[in-house]
Amino acid sequence: MNEAGIFNAFVTVLKRDLTLAFRTRSEMVNPLLFFVMVISLFPLAVSPDPAVLRSLAPGVIWVAALLATLLSLDSLFRSDFDDGALEQLLLSIHPISVLVLAKVLAHWLVTGIPLLLLAPLLAVLLHLPNDSIPTLLATLALGGPVLSLVGAIGVALTVGLRRGGVLLSLLILPLYIPVLIFAANAISNAAAGLQITGQLYFLAALLVLSLTLAPMATAAALRISLR
């Protein structure tokens, strides 16, 4: 009975956040536009030379994806904090970490998945070899959720502050660096025809680690923020 209740709560929160995201679509589009714009400006600003772009592509795509995620993070708890819905979540009979996980999953579905779908298109724009595109997708599929999960901790810590934006970036960016290094490196290696299993395993390990620990850390951070 209780486990069914927890599952029901998870699904309800997921559905709620997806509905809210769908009804405030313009907020959702913002990070995506940012992602597309940054990447499409690079060939104009740096060089249209395919060789140059090819070597820059992995890093550029991942930096843009990372910053786009960072841009979208603030909305994760902001409106719930402002209208008191967060208090109700904290006072629910279910473990907060489960509800947090549902919220983060919803966030990844509305920001991470669109980034993932757009990335191959932008990779072509940057002359990334076609056979490294599966690797690009794999890194975004493994690393994207890590960005959302780890970001949630930072947002939970700063949601009570009026201008938490700068602090959020300072807190979260160092934690994003391992993901960035392994992901960009995997794509570069794939483009050069080298092994990528090591990097992908590391990304998968980071995903498992953040999947198990981040919801709990986020729950604790939310408790502190609402105090």
Partner: protein
């Protein structure tokens, strides 16, 4: 259609030596009281005297500087889940999502408490006077109507303890008397209500306690 709540007369909320300091300012010191089923308590005090902080401590969101809150003799911070199952809180920000309809808001609220399939949410909305507004986004409702949705949560929850921060704010006269009779019913059925309000509650003597936070 009235929805009855199970009477829980055995429940007990006990507060021992509660003090709270904010930025070197003592909001209140050494508050003690015990509330059992069938009693209400009104927290009074001028603006800024710590009424809301008091309620947030009582529902476990904020930690007191010293002192402890017990639910059935167990500190509430120790067993959050069972306290949450027995307590409903409606704060100053009532947690109604403006992009969701009243019905969706209540569905979410229901999933956060004991799962119960037999509940007719339309009937709950009717009871708080929002029949006909099930499918409009809450942002198109007035402040009073939003508060009614929030109060609808109380009907859903069937928890013995209600903690309410200014429940009468933004309600019209008819709404106020409706909510008041809801509170009185809850107390006479063995529930507990703790509220801050400037609105005097019509309860028999002995059932209503008051605490004044004026120093």
């Amino acid at each position: 259609m009235p929805i009855s709540k199970p009477a829980q007369t055995t429940a007990k909320l006990q507060v021992q030596g509660l003090s709270c300091q904010r930025d070197d300012r003592t909001l209140f010191r050494d508050i003690n009281f015990t509330l059992t089923g069938g009693q209400a308590m009104q927290i009074e005090g001028p603006n800024g005297s710590g009424k809301t902080t008091m309620l947030r401590i009582l529902c476990g969101l904020t930690l007191p500087t010293s002192g402890e809150v017990f639910w059935n003799d167990i500190p509430i911070q120790q067993d959050r889940a069972s306290y949450a199952a027995n307590m409903s809180f409606i704060g100053h920000a009532h947690g109604i999502k403006s992009e969701l309809t009243p019905l969706e808001n209540l569905q979410v609220a229901m999933a956060m408490t004991q799962p119960r399939k037999d509940f007719d949410l339309i009937a709950v909305l009717e009871q708080v006077g929002l029949r006909g507004f099930e499918d409009v986004p809450a942002r198109t409702l007035s402040a009073g109507q939003c508060r009614r949705v929030a109060l609808g949560r109380l009907i859903l929850s069937r928890t013995p303890l209600w903690i309410l921060d200014e429940p009468f704010t933004a309600l019209d006269v008819q709404g106020q008397s409706q909510i008041e009779s809801m509170l009185v019913n809850h107390v006479t059925e063995g529930g507990m209500v703790i509220l801050t309000s400037h609105h005097p509650l019509k309860l028999r003597d002995g059932l209503l306690k008051t605490i004044n936070l004026r120093k």
